[in-house]
């Protein structure tokens, strides 16, 4: 099963990379973030937590390419190390959202009936809350911290996956291959996870890319409110939160983390859209 999914995935990655310039740049950015997170200890010129009060809020110099923050820490090094909490948030939040949301959506859509009715109502209700409110409520119940933020984002994003996978399986379960699988006596479990799931992996993958970009934005927003990552974690959102009090003295400390978040989110969104266009040729047909 893995090779069945992995080989086409690699092929579409190659196709994507040869696509428009924006997509190749975006893919390079994401790859760069992965590499930086792996090699942060070797690439970063300074430690991300070493305090130097004599060199606080220095503007960019050849010594400190992006300047220093309110505790004299090197901003560039903090940004580089910040790719680690970033990837942690992306991977864990998207895994929580995709697995719970998809599971609920698939079961609810496949079996239908009263459970489906209740689940759909709950999804509708959750979708009436702006995601930030769900995240704020969860973080306040669990307390601040990066691990809790990840859970909060995972829960807030799970509704999208539940709705998407429910819609997808409603269409798939009318298909002939499902009927024939059931006719030869495959269990519901087998039909859902071995037959339907691989067939709807594409849209779910696209949704995961978008979920990744919103996870980054929500983590940054919650850290910016002081509810996310705690010092001295070099989270980009937390760096913004700490820099905003010194905004007039040292605007550079605020500009670069925000720019880093923007570029990263933009890259995930561009790749997501390219991926969707690749899988959904309907859109191009409308254009022509």
């Amino acid at each position: 099963m893995t090779s069945k999914i992995l080989a086409p995935a690699l092929k579409s990655l190659k196709a994507l990379y040869k696509g428009p310039l924006a997509t190749s740049i975006a893919m390079t950015v994401i790859l760069g973030i992965l590499v930086l997170a792996l090699l942060a200890d070797y690439v970063a010129p300074y430690s991300y937590s070493e305090i130097n009060l004599w060199r606080r809020l220095e503007p960019p110099t050849p010594d400190h390419l992006l300047g220093t923050d309110h505790l004299g820490r090197d901003i560039l090094s903090r940004l580089i190390h910040g790719t680690r909490p970033l990837l942690y948030v992306v991977v864990v939040a998207v895994l929580i959202a995709a697995s719970t949301g998809t599971l609920i959506g698939l079961l609810s859509g496949y079996f239908g009936g009263a459970v489906d009715l209740i689940v759909s109502r709950i999804i509708d209700a959750l979708m009436s809350f702006p995601a930030i409110l769900i995240a704020l409520a969860v973080v306040t119940v669990l307390g601040p911290g990066l691990e809790k933020v990840v859970i909060a984002i995972g829960i807030a994003e799970a509704t999208t996956f539940a709705r998407l996978s429910r819609g997808l399986i409603l269409v798939e379960k009318e298909q002939l291959y499902v009927l024939s699988a059931r006719a030869v006596g495959a269990s519901s479990f087998r039909v859902i996870f071995r037959h339907v799931l691989p067939n709807i992996a594409g849209p779910l993958l696209v949704q995961s890319t978008f979920a990744a970009s919103s996870a980054i934005l929500w983590e940054a927003a919650l850290s910016f409110l002081g509810l996310g990552a705690q010092p001295p974690t070099p989270s980009w959102g937390l760096m913004l939160y700490e820099a905003k009090d010194y905004m007039t003295l040292a605007p550079h400390a605020m500009i670069s983390p925000g720019l880093a978040i923007f570029i990263t989110v933009l890259s995930f969104n561009i790749v997501g859209e390219a991926l969707r266009d690749l899988m959904d040729p309907r859109f191009k047909r409308i254009v022509k």
Binding site: D124, A131, L133, T140, F224, M254
Partner: protein
């Protein structure tokens, strides 16, 4: 038939409402620390005063009873009082909501103007350079961290140019920066939706017929495509009202703007239960009501939907 369907759509919102109330009630009850400890510090008031307070705030009753009481009070407009200021929550929420409504309405108008204008440019020549640039601008729009963008605007227009106040509410000048922040962050979504809706209409026969009759591209888009796409655009934008409200929560915090979002954040930090309850329930109710209204308007405006469903 149609009336039955309208009633059915409206009825679907009843369980949604119940679940919204249940979620807000249980989430806030799960918060660590009870309000009395928060009010009086770690030592708390003497036991008899504590009991009297618990009775006054309804904290001594069983949870299920507290929930029913809560639901009953929501429907009768008795939303409790702020634990700190003693002000009735419903009055506070409504006053704050006026501010939020002002902000979201102004930014929604700005975002729609930018978004639809750009979509018009894109649709005129699909797949052209202009179309691609519009596409990039829209993705960029919803990739911007809203708090960062707000701070950048403050830095430029308040700190450096000293043109506009960095926050607060009062005159029109207080509204410019926060609404510009929200408009820039939201126009991309509207542009994307409008472009897709217009392209969908664009491929239909009556548009082809209009073109065949020799009408100019501009006229075809403005008179035929835009008009027919308008319903879809309004619906989709309306259904994303919750996302707009979410951005408003953070924008209000950045600009110290006294709206509902900032009220909820303040309430969470001080564990002012009635305020958090009131704020979250209110926002959810507003989003739900907007969804219902859009649902019904869509039904009323588009005969195709009406006939297909009934």
């Amino acid at each position: 038939m149609t009336h039955g369907y309208i009633a059915y759509r409206a009825l679907l919102y009843v369980p949604t409402l119940f679940i919204i109330l249940l979620i807000t009630f249980s989430l806030v009850r799960l918060l660590p620390g009870d309000p009395i400890t928060v009010m009086y510090g770690e030592l708390g008031p003497p036991p008899e005063a504590r009991r009297a307070l618990e009775e006054k705030l309804g904290l001594d009753k069983p949870l299920a009873f507290q929930f029913l009481l809560y639901a009953y009070r929501i429907f009768t407009g008795d939303w409790g009082k702020s634990i700190y200021t003693g002000e009735p929550v419903i009055e506070l929420v409504l006053r704050r909501f006026v501010a939020t409504l002002e902000l979201t309405a102004v930014s929604l108008v700005m975002a729609s103007a930018i978004g639809i204008a750009l979509a018009y440019i894109a649709v005129k020549r699909p797949n052209s350079l202009a179309d691609r640039l519009v596409g990039i601008a829209s993705v960029a729009s919803y990739s911007i961290p809203v708090f960062w963008w707000g701070l950048i605007l403050i830095l430029i227009f308040s700190v450096n140019l000293k043109l506009l106040p960095p926050g607060g509410r009062g005159g029109l000048e207080n509204l410019v920066l926060p609404s510009l922040t929200l408009a820039i962050v939201n126009f991309g979504l509207i542009c994307r939706i409008s472009r897709a809706a217009m392209l969908e209409v664009y491929s239909q026969d009556f548009v082809m017929a209009a073109k065949a009759r020799g009408l100019s591209e501009r006229r075809v888009i403005l008179k035929y495509v835009m008009r027919n796409a308008a319903i879809a655009i309004v619906t989709l934008v309306g259904l994303r009202f919750g996302i707009l409200m979410g951005g408003a929560v953070i924008t209000e915090t950045v600009f110290a703007y006294p709206g509902v979002g900032r009220m909820i954040v303040e309430g969470i930090f001080s564990r002012d239960y009635p305020i958090i309850f009131g704020g979250i329930v209110f926002v959810a109710l507003v989003v739900m009501t907007v969804n219902l209204i859009i649902d019904l308007i869509y039904l009323a405006l588009d005969p195709r939907v009406r006939i297909a469903r009934s």
